[in-house]
């Protein structure tokens, strides 16, 4: 039996919307286990979101329409991104909506508006979070582009489906350029999704929070949407890494059996990826904010070395 591409598209939307909290929960559980704490259970994010949806909203007196609009936009844009990255099948009709560069810019919209919302109320924390977030994003951007450039050299394309098909169907070749690009991508992904050592997603300590500082004033369904979008973003960055660097096992068409196989492969890769991230997060301490330029600078260096390695060695 073969599924229509649009069915696959819908399937993928549902998959990401539905399973992102589970993935975030899995990361949390793993982290607790590694650090010797009691884990809350993999379903905890679902319970959190449900609880937040049921709560009333408390808005500051001077919150503007932008503050109320931002959660919806954040969720909407992240959902669009969810339809673009090929997860289980290359045959994804909406994937051509944006190539990798446009995809990065889509995440840029989310960041732009979240940073604005952080400044809307006029507390010091919001401004602090926005300022730091935008600084980190600025420094991460060149490294991100360099990594994209390096990956696109191998497939001669920045279109995700094309990259995935080339990678998944070429014979095994050791490519130093891709190894460097992957290392750079991991560093950037840590920065973009606000994980240790760049930002601590679990902190509410005034002086160290970045992302949390921006969304401190949110409550109720607004917060639920932002949290959900955040979990989706984390999953999407994993998906992007998988699509760009190890897409093996992805289905080429709509064949159900192959799709199931691709789903299993994806799940396995996500589980392994989460383990790697948890190990990084547990092994490293959060960096001082003015050490970050060096952290992101090394990401840029790695990506550039990848590009150079492609031209020199391959």
């Amino acid at each position: 039996m073969s599924l229509h591409p649009f069915v696959i598209e819908l399937l993928q939307f549902a998959l990401l919307l539905g399973l992102a909290p589970a993935f975030a929960g899995w990361v949390k559980v793993l982290k607790c286990r590694v650090q010797g704490r009691t884990a809350p259970g993999i379903l905890q994010p679902y319970r959190d979101i449900r609880r937040l949806f049921g709560k009333d909203i408390v808005l500051a007196e001077n919150a503007s329409w932008l503050f109320r609009f931002t959660p919806y936009l954040t969720f909407g844009v992240t959902a669009i991104a969810a339809g673009i990255i090929p997860l289980i099948s290359v045959d994804l009709p909406l994937s051509a909506t944006a190539d990798v560069i446009a995809l990065v810019m889509l995440f840029g919209i989310v960041r732009f508006f979240t940073a604005l919302a952080g400044m809307d109320i006029g507390t010091a924390f919001g401004g602090m979070g926005s300022s730091r977030e935008m600084t980190i994003a600025s420094l991460a951007e060149p490294a991100m582009l360099m990594a994209i450039f390096t990956v696109s050299l191998a497939s001669n394309s920045t279109s995700l489906t094309q990259m995935v098909s080339v990678m998944a169907h070429s014979e095994f070749v050791i490519r130093p350029s891709l190894a460097f690009a992957l290392a750079a991508f991991i560093l950037i992904a840590l920065a973009e999704t606000g994980r240790i050592p760049v930002d601590n997603p679990a902190t509410h300590l005034e002086l160290t929070m970045i992302h949390e500082a921006m969304i401190l004033e949110y409550s109720g369904r607004h917060l639920a949407l932002i949290e959900w979008a955040g979990m989706m973003k984390l999953t999407l960055f994993f998906a992007l890494g998988i699509a760009a660097f190890c897409p093996w096992g992805i289905a080429t068409g709509g064949d159900t059996g192959l799709l199931l196989l691709a789903l299993v492969a994806l799940a396995a890769k996500l589980v392994v990826g989460a383990c790697i991230m948890v190990l990084i997060e547990t092994g490293l301490a959060k960096l001082r904010i003015f050490r970050l330029p060096e952290f992101l600078g090394s990401a840029f260096l790695l990506a550039t070395l990848g590009m150079i390695a492609f031209f020199i060695l391959e």
Binding site: P176, E294, G297, F311, L313
Partner: protein, 221 residues
């Protein structure tokens, strides 16, 4: 192991050697530098063995073992002892800040790629593309000596340069004659001992290994 696979493996090792050269530029702690230097030696030794296997030049195995012994075990051990004896564990100060050094490094790599382009055209060895990396390693070692202030980092830079030279020899002509290699190895060993002795003297005279202190030796003013 097929021939192409060996070439790919060698490329990967070359890329890692380049990375380790950059890591030497970025690292602030002396012990960290010694570790990275040992890793670089290991990669070099592996690469030599791979080239030896692929090209059928079996004397390269001996070079590989020699590298392993000298640069992965002996020299790092000597430096390790030295660092402990002299009790230097602080961060080392650089003359130029790290990101700028990195950018300079990237430019040097591009420059060495440009320099070796004509040789790449002429040569038909499987290792010809790694020549650029070898030259870049030499230049990065030099850059490290220029931009760092500590005497130990100077010798590490020097040793990294030697690594680059060795790598250049294996990539350009499948290694130097055995006699030369043995001689170089012996020279290195002696150089390391002499450096060690000098460090002790510098340290007792200036109570520091910061080479900036040596500016005091200038006669004027």
């Amino acid at each position: 192991m097929t021939h192409t696979f060996a070439a790919q493996l060698n490329s990967l090792l070359a890329a890692l050697i380049l990375l380790s050269a950059f890591a030497l530029l970025a690292q602030r702690k002396i012990m960290g530098l010694v570790h990275i230097f040992a890793w670089q030696g290991l990669l070099l030794s592996l690469s030599t063995a791979v080239i030896g296997y692929a090209s059928g030049e079996h004397h390269l195995y001996i070079s590989s073992l020699l590298t392993l012994g000298m640069k992965v075990i002996l020299l790092p051990y000597i430096l390790y002892k030295l660092v402990h004896k002299l009790k230097i564990h602080r961060d080392i100060e650089a003359v130029v800040n790290v990101p700028t050094t990195m950018l300079l490094g990237i430019i040097l790599v591009v420059f060495s790629y440009h320099l070796t382009a004509p040789i790449r055209e002429l040569s038909n060895l499987m290792t010809r593309s790694t020549l650029a990396v070898a030259l870049a390693t030499i230049m990065l070692g030099m850059l490290m000596m220029v931009t760092r202030r500590h005497a130990v980092t100077q010798i590490l830079g020097f040793l990294a340069m030697e690594n680059g030279l060795f790598f250049a020899a294996t990539s350009a002509t499948y290694g130097m004659p055995m006699v030369v290699e043995l001689g170089v190895a012996l020279d290195l060993l002696i150089a390391a001992f002499i450096f060690g002795i000098f460090f002790f003297h510098i340290n007792t005279t200036f109570e520091s290994l910061d080479v900036e202190q040596m500016a005091k030796l200038k006669e004027t003013d």
